[in-house]
């Protein structure tokens, strides 16, 4: 038996896969004060649901895969360890000056962000390395020892070390590490060149700082998780989801916790890819996850999940930079809880303010007074007030209607249904722009991709989103409401290694590059050997490259582990031009290409089957008709169906409302929904 458990902000999602490969989904409330308790609660819910004893269930388990927001929450709320930064003499303001940049040019109400580690805990270390690795100022051990004494006085709990050019010559950083080890025993530290061997001192320093600051907390969390699972009867392997859509052992995560900071959204594209390929045979997917307050969009491009290095926790330029590649996810403040309002110029806005989980939409009856996207869906008859979350919660339709009338319909001078429809239109547009942004950046044409709608609220307007984008097909997977946990079950053990070996195609040093690539391969092989995985192993190489004098690199594939001839270099050059053409619509064949870094990703499959099959016991059929509103038709009698009770390949023409226990899918007029053998819905936007 295998468990995939994703702790989100509101719910802890769990999927249990039995030994026959049949899966069941469960949800329990997240317990922020002690998230492991919520995990154990979800396991209890599962045991109850399957009618077995929790201990018996857990002792039959071989694998527990966990996604956690514990690390990212600690960063956002400032509960990380008291951390010091040691950096090159003369350069104490790396974390203060950052990389510059700002948004909202005319907004002077937002002060400059504080450095992630205060200047008071930043210490300069003598010694300087040049770009070619030459030492031009010597290391000074006595000075470092003096700094260490101050670290003791300051009672720091973790130390980050980032020296200029340590990626080319790590000797000084290594010596600082050795001194810390000896004179500050028990205090965790992070050396920037080991953690994140890439150029750009701010990003490397920020990586090291965040990583070190999380070590005490996440070390404790991982031990506690493993121990309590063990006490509850689980004796298998505990893995944790990483920000780059893989999984690693819990103890590895404790030693480099930065890798799991964004574990939440990274698994959605793994699941999304499987469904778009299985259901539609399409290797290009836009994967959307609709939550209560945010809308997360990720991508699959020709079967691969694009990564980004623009990894900010919080707002760009104002938040915390991780400096580490992760799954490219565009998040916007748009979700079921986003609030609709009309400004004094008469323009309707939806969000970015959100009613959140508390008080939530007006219809929840928990004290919310401002109209939200969910309220609009209730008013339009798209959501059934008496059958929300499978009937476990009832909704206040009158309250929702009164609120939309007061705050939207009357200021705009339109009727309530038109106002509710307008709220969905604007929410849709916000989500569409998020998708446009990320697809432009990654060079994907939405008209050639499948839109995968995940998250409990995805069904409310995903058909409209697909329509606006020109996406021919929308998929709502059977496990859509727990898409990340489903992705976790399908994921591979994964590690990514980096080498900062600068090269230019104008004077390509094959021997030097081959040495770097060979080093990466060795590390991948060692990882695979130690992985304990039984399935296939795969290593992929990439270059972070750009045209001569460009500043922003793109990823270009590297076909093999060594450049044996000039022809191999030419092939790489051709691949780079093609990638640039793909992303930006032009290339510059005459220009040399600069490579600032090389990376290798090793994946080891954890099981030999793929995909996910959901149990279909106990589905009630509940077919009826409800009056619902669509802009094209006005109020109309609309069929309502349980989609998990539909037969494979059975289709229904819109307008229709298709429900299961966790979600409702609104199929507008003109669209046609078909049940797929995977269990999910495939909706042809333009009809059959």
């Amino acid at each position: 038996m295998r468990f995939a458990c994703d702790t989100g902000g509101t719910f802890t999602d769990l999927i249990v896969e039995d030994d026959d490969g049949v899966c069941r989904m469960f949800k329990a409330s997240t317990t922020p004060d002690d998230p492991v308790r919520g995990v154990l609660d979800a396991l209890q819910t599962a045991a109850d649901g399957m009618g077995i004893d929790r201990k018996a269930m857990l002792s039959a388990g071989s694998l527990f895969i966990h996604g956690t927001t514990h690390a990212i929450n600690a960063i956002i709320t400032g509960r990380t360890a008291r951390t010091a930064l040691l950096t090159t003499e003369g350069h104490p303001d790396i974390l203060t000056l950052r990389e510059g940049g700002r948004t909202e040019a005319f907004n002077f109400t937002i002060p400059f962000p504080d450095p992630f580690i205060p200047r008071a805990l930043t210490f300069e270390v003598p010694g300087r390395i040049r770009l070619d690795g030459q030492e031009i100022e010597p290391f000074d051990e006595a000075a470092v020892l003096a700094v260490i004494e101050r670290l003791k006085d300051e009672k720091v709990e973790a130390v980050a070390v980032c020296l200029l050019w340590s990626v080319v010559n790590p000797e000084h950083e290594e010596r600082v590490g050795a001194l810390l080890e000896k004179h500050l025993p028990g205090i965790p530290y992070t050396l920037s060149h080991r953690l994140n061997p890439s150029l750009r001192e701010f990003r490397r320093a920020s990586s090291a700082a965040v990583d070190a600051s999380l070590k005490p907390l996440m070390g404790h969390y991982m031990s506690s998780l493993q121990q309590r699972l063990k006490d509850a009867g689980f004796d298998g392997r505990v893995l944790v989801i990483t920000s780059n859509a893989g999984v690693i052992d819990a103890q590895v995560a404790a030693q480099a916790p930065i890798h799991i900071v964004n574990s939440g959204p990274s698994m959605a594209p793994v699941a999304g890819h499987w469904f778009s390929l299985t259901d539609e045979g399409n290797d290009n997917a836009i994967v959307a996850d609709t939550g209560g307050t945010t809308y997360d969009v990720s991508l699959v491009r020709r079967g691969l999940i694009p990564m980004t290095r623009e990894t900010w926790i919080g707002e760009p330029y104002r938040g915390v930079m991780l400096g580490f590649p992760w799954v490219d996810v565009k998040s916007v403040g748009a979700g079921g809880g986003s609030i609709a309002w009309v400004d004094n110029g008469g323009l309707l806005h939806v969000g970015p303010q959100s009613a959140g989980a508390v008080p939530g939409p007006v219809a929840y009856g928990r004290g919310g007074t401002l109209p939200t996207v969910t309220d609009a869906s209730v008013v339009l008859g798209h959501l059934d007030p008496d059958y929300f979350l499978g009937g476990t919660m009832s909704l206040d339709r009158d309250g929702a209607e009164a609120s939309i009338r007061r705050y939207v319909a009357e200021p705009l001078g339109i009727d309530v249904a038109a106002a509710a429809d307008a709220i969905l239109a604007i929410a849709t547009e916000n989500m569409v722009q998020a998708i446009v942004d990320i697809t432009v950046n990654q060079g994907i044409d939405p008209r050639e991709a499948v839109l995968v709608g995940g998250g409990g609220a995805a069904g409310l307007n995903s058909v409209r989103i697909a329509q606006r984008l020109g996406c021919p097909t929308l998929i709502v997977p059977s496990v859509g409401a727990t898409l990340s946990a489903a992705g976790a079950l399908m994921s591979d053990l994964k590690a990514e290694y980096h080498a900062a070996c600068f090269a230019s195609t104008a004077r390509f040093d094959r021997a030097k590059v081959n040495e770097a690539l060979a080093g990466l391969r060795e590390r991948c092989d060692a990882f695979a050997a130690a992985s304990g995985a039984k399935g296939r192993t795969n290593i992929r190489y990439k270059a972070e490259a750009r045209y001569d004098t460009q500043i922003w690199e793109i990823e270009a594939p590297v076909r093999s582990v060594s450049f044996d001839s000039a022809a191999d270099v030419d092939a790489f050059v051709a691949d780079f031009h093609a990638a640039h053409q793909d992303l930006f619509g032009f290339d510059d064949p005459a220009s040399p290409i600069e490579i600032v870094g090389w990376s290798a990703t090793v994946t080891c499959a954890l099981r030999d089957t793929d995909g996910i099959r959901l149990s279909e016991d106990n589905v009630e059929t509940r077919n009826h008709v409800r009056t619902a509103y669509f802009a094209e038709t006005g109020w109309i009698e609309t069929p309502v169906r349980r989609f998990d009770a539909m037969q494979p390949d059975e289709f229904i023409e819109g307008p229709a409302l298709l429900e299961n226990a966790l979600t409702t899918v609104v199929v507008g007029p003109g669209a046609v929904a078909t049940r797929r053998s995977s269990g999910g819905l495939s909706i042809a936007i333009g009809g059959k």
Binding site: E89, E99, G101, R102, P118, V342, G346, I414, T549, Q550
Partner: protein
């Protein structure tokens, strides 16, 4: 919803179309940023993208540099129509003429008319990008001492057709390659600009195919009216008043010995919902590169106004109707006549105009306006050029190693890395490692200077000091650093920010002061120390929260002595402030 009988567009449709037009400019900007080749594009983000209507009104812009975009695209679009009445799909026009609506000669602007199927001109997409080199007589795009456009030396294109039928004119390309330094870099940037403009054209046509051109025309009219209503509300929130603020640019070659004194007379008339900025009472044009183009004179005034009002008001021709900028011909901050040089038009004197405007508004209202931002361009942000010792190839590029200059605001401390007021902090700061990799230089140190902030209730930015020099070679560096004599002033009792400075340190340690506007050759082993200007404070230092002062002291930004003498805050050995002593200190300071 689908009622077409009413002539005005509802707030829903308008919001959706605005979102889409902004999406167009974002897409254009993203392409340019990610594909531009010179540092001034891909690091400084010294570019902007916008959409102008067929009537030459600014409709939508990306989040670009403020000094780039508010006024200028409208004027350039008018010249495009006047000089080329027969516009066709596939045309592209280049304008970098400060006498025809461009900001200055370095800001190459590509205008692409968007045509419908009947050959009717519907919109113009505009991409403006500061070039690394424009063929000036010296290797810098900021020629502060040029006595006229001839000495400046740039190629000037007054709305010149450079593409027909989507093909670039080969003669134009060959001319540029003969005249512009490091032509491969120039060509890469030009390709990036064309790519961005054509993406904008394609996207607008796609919107029109869905919505119809007439619908977009209705949007244009109603969106500008909406923006005007927002601006009316924003101005009505200000008190009525009149104020004059004077800001002086330091003396440079070609200026009077006292520098260039700029004054903005600002009148706020909430009843008419008008802000008037009068710049006519200022000196005539000068024989140097510091004069403003008409686009920069207007835009700088508008930047000062928009920095002072509710920030969410859309910036387009609609809200501009409520700003009345008064200019005169042949004025250093007005409308220059050919062959006046405006080489440095977007920064130095333009900043003095924007700063004067926002500081004048702060005089009128204690809840609005801003202190003065710091001045530029220090050597750490200069243009360096030379021969690369590893390859023997020539290089030229602008550095962005260190600017600060943020101004104290009514409700917040400064954004430290604002650069200068016309940039608004959008510029990135160079990575030391990337700069050392790309250019043969060496950065010895880079740090914020203690006690250089503009003290105030909300403080201005401190100075950044950068020490750098050549590696295994000599190189030239050009810069135009204002702010050594006239630092950024505080407002409402706030104090001035730190002054700019630059000097050379010879290998024997001897120190040599350098001119503020110069083209300097640094020999191997020499170091250049560049100190950026700080920003002014907003409100009295004695009103600053003592807990924040204590934190500034712990962080090493302010010394304990300065906390005491300037802020009236007593800090104890543990770094906390002493409440009783602080109260006594502040009581003894004259209000």
């Amino acid at each position: 919803m689908s009622d077409t009988s009413t002539t005005s567009m509802d707030g829903v449709k308008m919001a959706i179309l605005n979102n889409r037009f902004e999406g167009v400019t974002r897409k254009m900007a993203n392409t340019l940023l990610r594909t531009g080749r010179s540092g001034v594009l891909n690091v400084a983000r010294d570019f902007s993208c916008c959409v102008v209507t067929a009537e030459c009104e600014l409709l939508a812009t990306n989040e670009g540099l403020p000094i780039h975009v508010l006024s200028g695209p409208d004027i350039m679009a008018r010249y495009m129509k006047e000089f080329h009445p027969d516009l066709r799909a596939g045309d592209a026009f280049l304008n970098n003429s400060p006498y025809h609506g461009c900001s200055h000669a370095a800001d190459w602007t590509l205008l692409v008319p968007v045509m419908d199927n009947d050959g009717r001109h519907r919109f113009t997409v505009v991409v403006k990008a500061h070039q690394a080199d424009i063929g000036n007589s010296i290797p810098t795009t900021y020629h502060g001492s040029a006595k006229d456009v001839y000495e400046e030396g740039a190629l000037i294109f007054p709305s010149t057709k450079v593409q027909s039928n989507y093909e670039t004119n080969a003669d134009f390309r060959r001319m540029c390659e003969m005249r512009i330094r490091v032509p491969e870099q120039w060509w890469g940037d030009f390709l990036a600009m064309v790519g961005a403009a054509r993406i904008g054209e394609r996207e607008i046509i796609a919107i029109a195919q869905e919505e119809g051109w007439e619908e977009l025309d209705r949007f244009r009219r109603d969106w500008l009216d909406y923006s005007e209503r927002r601006m009316i509300d924003a101005i009505k929130a200000l008190p009525a008043g009149f104020a004059v603020h004077t800001s002086c640019h330091d003396p440079f070659p070609g200026t009077p010995e006292t520098g260039i004194k700029v004054q903005a007379k600002v009148t706020i008339r909430p009843d008419d919902a008008i802000v008037e900025v009068d710049l006519t009472d200022n000196p005539d044009c000068l024989p140097c590169g510091l004069n403003l183009s008409e686009a920069c004179s207007r835009t700088a005034s508008m930047v000062g106004v928009f920095n002072a009002v509710e920030h969410s008001v859309p910036k387009n021709a609609g809200s501009f109707r409520r700003i009345d900028v008064k200019l005169r011909e042949n004025c250093v901050v007005g409308i220059p006549r050919h062959p006046t040089s405006t080489s440095v038009s977007t920064t130095n004197v333009a900043d003095r105009v924007a700063n004067s405007t926002q500081a004048a508004i702060a005089q009128i209202s204690g809840d609005h306006g801003l202190a003065e931002c710091g001045a530029v361009i220090p050597p750490a942000v200069g243009v360096i050029s030379g021969l690369h010792p590893d390859t023997g190839q020539p290089f030229v590029n602008q550095l962005f190693l260190g600017m600060s200059g943020g101004a104290g605001a009514p409700k917040a401390d400064a954004w430290v890395t604002i650069g200068h007021v016309g940039n608004a902090g959008l510029c990135y700061v160079d990575s030391v490692e990337i700069d050392e990799l790309r250019q043969p230089l060496y950065v010895y140190s880079r740090r914020l200077k203690t006690d250089s902030e503009g003290a105030g209730k909300h403080k201005g930015a401190p100075s950044v000091e950068v020490v750098f020099g050549p590696r295994d070679c000599a190189f030239d560096i050009g810069y135009v650093s204002d702010g050594a004599v006239n630092p950024a002033q505080g407002v409402r009792g706030g104090l001035s920010g730190g002054r700019g400075d630059q000097y050379r340190i010879r290998p024997d340690g001897q120190r040599e002061q350098l001119d503020p506007c110069a083209q300097v050759t640094l020999q191997d082993g020499e170091k250049l120390v560049s100190v950026s200007t700080g920003g002014g404070g907003y409100g009295k230092p004695s009103e600053r929260d003592p807990a924040l002062v204590a934190r500034d002291v712990r962080e090493g930004l302010v010394s304990a002595e300065r906390a005491r003498s300037v802020y009236g805050v007593a800090i104890d050995a543990a770094g906390k402030f002493n409440e009783a002593e602080t109260e006594a200190l502040r009581a003894s300071v004259p209000a």
